[in-house]
Assembly symmetry: none
Homo-oligomer: 194 residues x 4
Amino acid sequence: MLKRNKPKYKQIIEAAVIVIAENGYHQAQVSKIAKQAGVADGTIYLYFKNKEDILISLFQEKMGSFIEKIQKEIGGISSPTEKLYVLIEKHFQLLAADRHLAIVTQLELRQSNKELRLRINEVLKRYLKVVDDILIEGIEKGEFRKDLDVRLARQMIFGTIDETVTTWVMNEQKYDLVALAKPVHQLLTKGCAA
Amino acid sequence: MLKRNKPKYKQIIEAAVIVIAENGYHQAQVSKIAKQAGVADGTIYLYFKNKEDILISLFQEKMGSFIEKIQKEIGGISSPTEKLYVLIEKHFQLLAADRHLAIVTQLELRQSNKELRLRINEVLKRYLKVVDDILIEGIEKGEFRKDLDVRLARQMIFGTIDETVTTWVMNEQKYDLVALAKPVHQLLTKGCAA
Amino acid sequence: MLKRNKPKYKQIIEAAVIVIAENGYHQAQVSKIAKQAGVADGTIYLYFKNKEDILISLFQEKMGSFIEKIQKEIGGISSPTEKLYVLIEKHFQLLAADRHLAIVTQLELRQSNKELRLRINEVLKRYLKVVDDILIEGIEKGEFRKDLDVRLARQMIFGTIDETVTTWVMNEQKYDLVALAKPVHQLLTKGCAA
Amino acid sequence: MLKRNKPKYKQIIEAAVIVIAENGYHQAQVSKIAKQAGVADGTIYLYFKNKEDILISLFQEKMGSFIEKIQKEIGGISSPTEKLYVLIEKHFQLLAADRHLAIVTQLELRQSNKELRLRINEVLKRYLKVVDDILIEGIEKGEFRKDLDVRLARQMIFGTIDETVTTWVMNEQKYDLVALAKPVHQLLTKGCAA
DNA sequence: CATGAATGAGGATTCATTCAT
DNA sequence: GATGAATGAATCCTCATTCAT
């Protein structure tokens, strides 16, 4: 059986999300995660190479299912503009539904060292690929302009979504994030121009 | 004479930028900064309360002059759309001109703890205020649409600029960042729509 | 099992006594104590909250057994005057038998900060209570004079014993401390006698 | 002119007493003493070899005038028993009159290192000599018993006086110390009396 | 004489990781 | 597989002292 399918593997990752969200990245000691997961400190190392591996795995697992869910949702949609809307809405929905995960991805995991963030970026690329594909399809289908710089447009889309979620988390998730999907989508597709 | 006008104050901040950029946030020991600045370890503490104070001061000094320069540039411009362009271009120019500072602001300083990031955010607000003012003026002058959500638009603008710079830094500053000012400005003002 | 009954707990305390006696309070680094105890530096912190906690525990353990031994000795004696003699003799015997402990209690521990000394005083109070009890019993039994000020008499007894031991330690324990029990007792009881 | 007769010499010593009494031995930095004395840090070193020298000088100056005053008082008295009374009363009076000095000599200076305390003891010996002389005279004049062990009696006298003052200081000088001179004298002379 | 900016040595503590049981 | 006691490397800051002015 694959390591990542064993119950304790998932148990430890869920514990890590909770511990990091509640204590902050720098106060999330391995012993705290072990305690939260209900296992001994040493047991962690039967499932993860080291502490960094927990965090990378956490991001891979969570981001993986994140991307899968979004791909499934936009799979049946033909309009790229519409696909972009669903991507934004789903992105907001998934993070709004998991307060802990939102804190971890938007605030805490960014405190990790450069090394870890490079690994995280590799995972992110799969997400950015989804955005790229929508953009390319949109250009081909004539919904987006021909001379659109896909890389820049993707940076705008991701940058805007990310900044919107981060601001929401830093405001202690006080307002309805999902409700912003529509105006954000409008901004991104139509722009500020009069 | 104010502490922050003394030569060693600036000397230490410049040293901190270099050391953090070259060694990373977590490998930027006080002794390394002192050595780079050409002063004794203890001298650091004649000018800064503690290590965190160096980082906060660094950000305040750099971001402060950053904002001042941008404000000066857009001061003489009447069109908000044009102002936004100059803001983007200047933002890119200033960071492209200081490789070390770009690494520090886009990557290293984000690893700081929540406390420090809150302090950094206070400084950032002044920048976001500049963006907001441009947007409000744009709406009033009829260059931007009446129903524009200023907060969301600001999050798009800052998120896009930030993501663009970060991607550039993570790609080792291999391409011309300033050249992106025009298409980014176009994207932000006109959007992706055909 | 209680932390204080584990072998390493006692091992570390014994090491602390030796290191402090041989190097002095301010030269008794945690790493030195760990080395003397044959454990890693970090192990100290599995048994003690911090360095101060080692010193407080040391005093509590040693003074605790000190008081117990004295109480056991005087338990079977009926005459308060005789009790006082045994207390003095036992006090001298116990410190004369442990050169290191004598140095630590008479010289080194007094260099501790006010906070620590307040904690030490709490332990000392138990000792002073034993003296008080002897004095009160002596007054009741008519061996000591009715108008004896118990507090002052206790200060005389403790002050004299303490000064005698300190002088002996400062003279490098060159003469026989225990032999002084009899003349000291004589001096002290004349002051108290009815 | 002798260094110790210059105004700044005395100024610094008075400052040291105040700073140590108010901040504690370990919080009495040279810079604090300099500030309190109204001189620059460096000036301290024109009058004292090092920090330890300040403390030794402080004790020498204060203890010196302490002993002189006591010697002057007992000079005109013929009875050794009476002399002892005046010594105790004067000892209590002088410390009761200078709260700061009492704190410094009874609590703070004892936190100094072994080296410093050895130096302090040399000064103390002059005081103990005064006691010894009274005792010897008392034996010769038949007021104290012939077989009195002078060294032990001196340790009792000094130990008792010292313990009494220390207890009074630790009780925040709440009660009348001088009033204790009489009962303390009574306790001590009974032990010595012929 | 006086200044005060600059110096730099020194140590308690944390926590990821190991390994004997 | 699971445990958790033990390890030990690594760093910020203080403050007595100096010396150029």
